[in-house]
């Protein structure tokens, strides 16, 4: 064996010299422009792949925070968000978002990518489409967590198609498609509002119309905890999302030649860490317990909040944004659950809608000209950097406009679905679990499935069938 390897080495070396020599003989080296273009495209694709991987993070977070009897269902919804989203964004969404603008409101062409050439020199277009597609799918998948454990799968597919095909691209056009918000000077670098708040407000509309899960609220209005089946999966999902965010934010420079990509990665990371710590501490003071799920969601809250301003704020500014994201998550979640009585199993509304809004407003406070100089975002200054309240006002306008658009349209969509197809499974299906009732399967066939007659099933199975185990008489 060793002799055979030694024998082949001179042959391989000879081939390498021959092929490389002939290549140099046939063509000149790439131009600086070609190299730059290729680096940008590779950077864009790597970022797109990272953002695509966030779908796995969402799937793990949402399945981990929900019960085992609904795991297949929530995974299916996450999977279909990307699949349905890919088709609809290709057919319709990309054109509405980046097509020729009509009055700054909506794109009007390039449906089915009809304006993209298939030939030499078009590589960046395709990479750009893929990058935008993974962002669109991110907005869609936020909703599945808020409506988890009770939303009809068939209706969910329709929702998923509508948000990626229509709702997200239209508001996206307002800024990233060169629409009216971009003309106002609105800053949302990677999509605190355009991606996360759109998903978050849609999630709020869905959860409101759907109603709470059975057993979530008591008659006196107090809320019960319905534990998810795996904190391990949930926290793994948070780490995957955090990792993917290094594509989401730095990738939004759209250029590997932008020297700010490392800087943006730092601001992104600072906010995530600060969000986790502040959520942990605030909730610890509030409840007396350092809650794992809250800390994990705190990291996501920080990430969502920094997404708008990651290229415009200093690392200290990012730290402040993250530190405030924690309380926004904790008290926002309490408001949604205890005051509004809305059941959001994974905290999607407080993570994405509320912190998306906070992060976008924070640009008007923390935008620093120095940061803009390294990332190419210009010399915009927020209130705390001597820029006055003008930028803050523009940011508020964007938050309100996109929020009203996303919540209003999705409220109508969910209402129509409710009136036609129905959006909620039956009580029996919900109790049985959506894995069985919707998909005819079980995610964990060998554990965690109730079996009548086993001692572990005692609490919900009055008819204990095993001959040797009988409920004793109550009286003494």
């Amino acid at each position: 064996m060793k002799r055979r390897v030694l024998w082949t080495l001179p042959l391989v070396a000879g081939l390498l010299v021959f092929t490389s020599g002939s290549a140099f003989a046939q063509e000149a080296g790439p131009t600086a422009e070609q190299v730059t273009k290729q680096i940008d495209m590779i950077w864009l694709l790597v970022s797109a792949f990272l953002v695509f991987f966030m779908q796995a993070g969402f799937a793990m977070v949402e399945s981990g925070f929900t019960r085992s009897k609904n795991a297949a269902n929530i995974l299916m919804k996450n999977l279909m968000d990307f699949c349905v989203g890919s088709i609809l964004f290709f057919m319709l969404g990309y054109g509405l978002m980046y097509g020729t603008s009509a009055a700054g409101l909506i794109g009007t062409d390039n449906f089915f990518l009809s304006k993209f050439a298939i030939g030499a020199g078009s590589g960046s277009d395709w990479a750009g489409f893929l990058f935008q597609l993974v962002f669109a799918a991110t907005a869609a998948t936020i909703v599945s967590g808020a409506v988890a454990e009770r939303f009809k799968f068939s209706s969910y597919l329709v929702y998923s198609a509508i948000i990626v095909g229509l709702i997200y691209p239209i508001s996206g056009h307002w800024l990233w498609g060169g629409g009216w918000l971009s003309q106002q000077g609105f800053i949302d670098f990677a999509g605190s509002t355009l991606v996360h708040s759109v998903g978050g407000w849609a999630a709020l509309a869905g959860a409101m119309l759907l109603g709470p899960r059975i057993g979530k609220f008591n008659k006196d209005g107090s809320a019960n905890v319905i534990p998810g089946h795996s904190l391990t999966l949930a926290v793994l999902g948070v780490f995957i999302l955090w990792f993917g965010w290094f594509g989401f934010n730095p990738g939004s420079t759209l250029s590997g030649m932008n020297e700010g990509i490392g800087y943006i990665a730092v601001t992104t990371n600072m906010a995530a860490a600060a969000g986790a710590v502040s959520a942990l501490l605030v909730n610890w003071l509030r409840t007396g317990r350092p809650d794992t799920a809250v800390a994990a969601n705190g990291a996501l809250a920080g990430l969502v909040a920094i997404t708008a301003g990651c290229a415009s704020v200093t690392p200290t500014g990012a730290l402040c944004i993250g530190l405030i994201a924690g309380p926004v998550l904790v008290y926002g979640g309490a408001l949604i659950e205890n005051v509004l009585k809305i059941d959001d199993p994974v905290g999607a509304v407080s993570v994405h809608a509320l912190n998306g809004a906070w992060g976008t407003l924070a640009v008007g406070l923390f935008a620093a000209p120095g940061a803009g100089a390294i990332t190419g975002m210009g010399d915009t200054a927020g209130l705390f950097y001597g820029g006055g309240v003008a930028q803050l006002g523009v940011q508020a306008l964007g938050v309100l406009a996109v929020g009203a658009w996303a919540f209003g349209t999705m409220f109508v969509v969910f209402s129509l679905l409710k009136a036609t197809m129905g959006i909620r499974v039956t009580k029996e299906e919900e109790l049985e679990g959506l894995d069985i009732s919707e998909h005819g399967t079980t995610s964990y066939p060998e554990f965690g499935t109730p079996v009548v007659g086993t001692p572990g099933e005692r609490t919900m199975m009055p008819e204990v069938t095993a001959a040797s185990v009988k409920p004793a008489t109550a009286s003494h």
Binding site: R67, N224, G456, A472, A474, H476
Partner: protein, 310 residues
């Protein structure tokens, strides 16, 4: 966890099931001593574990049969401190105590958690009705609370309840259990406990809980809270400190004896439960006030029409 039988001399309790090596639980280092009963009717030996009975014709089989049930009963590294029993359906629902809070877990459903056992019972009962496990609310099974003896895992009945049922106000209900030297309950976010004191402890605990609820703005007057369904022995102990008032009340055809304890007037309603006397007490300042209170409560319970009586 290690289980073994220890022979005893008594014929009705021929063995004790010893459970030790409860590692990985909060009971580590302690030994459970579960009595093994013999039934002539079935000709079998049985042990009762927090309300679940394990039976075997051969006593030697009990340890292996009891072990999986015991393991299944351990939740959050502890055995249940209470159970809720649905008599009609035979369901038993373990309740665990962690710190000041009690927990009832439901497989694939919510965790009901509160400092007051009564709240947890209400929440669990509503959920079980909603999910159809206990039938239709109002016409179906109720959940009865039992304590679990931490040494023998036998069920222990509350020695009485502290109850507030006033029309137009939020109900309050708390079972009172007895340890070797104290009686205690959970109310107003804390464990309320007084030492056993020859019957005085019943009204001492009543006062303590009433003060806590008043401070919590959940009770307007201490007399709205009353000791209900006392064990006969508990009432007998308290009665020795009371004087029987010559007046008797007759409300809606129910004869009520009146006692005086210090400056409190006590109305005694004789009640029974599973053929055992479980008297209920009404408390007030004067006999007239007491009569009015009992009338209102009887009307609430539908025993008679207060308007007609008036």
């Amino acid at each position: 966890m290690k289980l073994k039988l220890e022979r005893r001399t008594a014929t009705d309790l021929p063995f004790t099931l010893l459970v030790d090596q409860l590692d990985d639980t909060v009971m580590a280092g302690s030994t459970l001593r579960i009595p093994v009963h013999y039934s002539d009717v079935t000709g079998s030996y049985n042990v009762e574990l927090a309300g679940f009975r394990v039976e075997a014709e051969d006593a030697a089989l009990l340890p292996s049969q009891a072990q999986p049930l015991l393991e299944a009963l351990i939740n959050m590294a502890r055995l249940p401190s209470y159970v809720f029993v649905a008599r009609r359906s035979g369901g038993i629902y373990p309740v665990y105590t962690v710190g000041d809070e009690v927990f009832a877990t439901t497989p694939g459903g919510p965790v009901f958690r509160h400092v007051e056992l009564a709240k947890v019972r209400d929440y669990l009962s509503d959920y079980l009705h909603l999910t159809g496990v206990l039938g239709t609310p109002g016409r179906s099974d109720k959940l009865h609370v039992r304590g679990v003896d931490p040494q023998t895992l036998e069920l222990v009945r509350p020695i009485f309840y502290l109850k507030k049922r006033v029309v137009g106000q939020v109900d309050f209900w708390a079972p009172v259990f007895q340890t070797e030297s104290t009686i205690y309950t959970y109310a107003a976010s804390a464990r309320r406990e007084v030492p056993i004191n020859a019957g005085h402890d019943i009204l001492a605990l009543h006062r303590m809980v009433a003060d806590a609820l008043i401070a919590d703005r959940r009770l307007r007057t201490a007399f709205d809270l009353r000791p209900d369904r006392l064990f006969a022995t508990a009432w007998d102990a308290l009665k020795t400190h009371c004087t029987l008032d010559p007046q008797r009340l007759n409300i809606g055809g129910v004869d009520i004896a009146v006692y005086r304890y210090k400056d409190t007037v006590i109305g005694l309603e004789e009640r029974t439960e599973t053929d055992q006397p479980r008297p209920s007490l009404y408390l007030d300042r004067t006999v007239a006030d007491l009569a009015e209170r009992i009338t209102a409560d009887f009307a609430r319970r539908g025993l008679f029409n207060a308007a007609v009586a008036a």
